[in-house]
Amino acid sequence: MFDTSSDDLAFELDLPAGTLRVAGGLFTDLDARRLEREINQATTLVEGGTLVVDLAGVTFLPSTALQSLVAARRTAKVKGVAVALAATPGTLPHRVLTAVGFPLQQSAVEPGSRESQEPPPSAS
């Protein structure tokens, strides 16, 4: 279980569910590149044709991170893997992804559960 009590970036790959859960803030270009790398790696491991990237625990998602999502989705497509994005309505990731027209599915993380309890915005 990853820790959502801080803005530290964390990834958890749930292979049976075909889901990569992301938590923390994507504050820097290095964070964005790490997101792309983790998705690329997950697409080589996941069975089936779809990887769900669940962003319910993400606390900061700027346009630089969106570039990484696009790049990772392009790379996955070459491998024959579709990348689907999931977020929880009412959260910053949901607002950001909706604003730029990314198709979204509902996060499997239950609203109110520990994983969906984002910490207050911090200056980290």
Partner: protein, 179 residues
């Protein structure tokens, strides 16, 4: 409930409070400014959603200034914010000016004649790059790598505007604090 009916955050000041800082003309300054803003807002008990939106908007404004603007004399750009009872106004100023590549036909009324981006089909990249100064944002394409920053500003703020003078460019965005 309309905005007017929402109570202002309990801790927001009755007289506007302003912070004016200069940050290096560099991508990394977006995160520096974001951190400064969050620290500045902490005493005001601003709702979480407003802090998230405001910090995202400021981050994108700084990145936009670095991507499309020019540094001022000290190789910096100016970041200013003002908080009052109901709104937070964010401003980022660089010393870049319009480069004149966007002709009047591109600026006014071209959209309905020449398609979504208002271009004349001649591939005038300079014109397209300058259109953001007129708040003419091309719809974000799902597979394009760039061009989403100001869409986030547009979506997460109540309003935004661009002012270009001979001395520089200021992009201002207003975020509602009611959250």
């Amino acid at each position: 409930m309309s905005l007017q009916e929402r109570p202002a955050p309990a801790g927001t000041p009755h007289t506007p409070r302003t912070l004016d800082v200069s940050v290096p003309f560099a991508d990394a300054s977006a995160n520096v400014a974001r951190r400064e803003l969050i620290e500045f807002l902490e005493p005001f008990d601003v709702p979480r959603r407003a802090v998230e939106d405001a910090s995202t908007v400021l981050y994108e404004l700084v990145r936009n200034g670095v991507d499309h603007g020019r540094p001022c004399a000290d190789h910096d750009l100016e970041v200013t914010w003002t908080v009052d009872t109901e709104t937070l106004t964010l401003r980022v100023t660089d010393c870049g000016t319009a480069d004149g590549t966007c002709p009047p036909a591109c600026r006014h009324g071209a959209d309905h004649r020449h398609g979504v981006d208002g271009s004349d089909g001649t591939g005038d990249a300079g014109c397209r790059l300058e259109r953001w100064r007129l708040k003419l944002l091309e719809p974000p394409q799902l597979d394009s790598m760039r061009g989403r920053g100001l869409h986030l500003v547009d979506a997460l703020s109540a309003s935004w505007d661009v002012t270009t003078t001979q001395r520089g460019t200021t992009v201002e965005a207003v975020v509602e604090l009611a959250g």
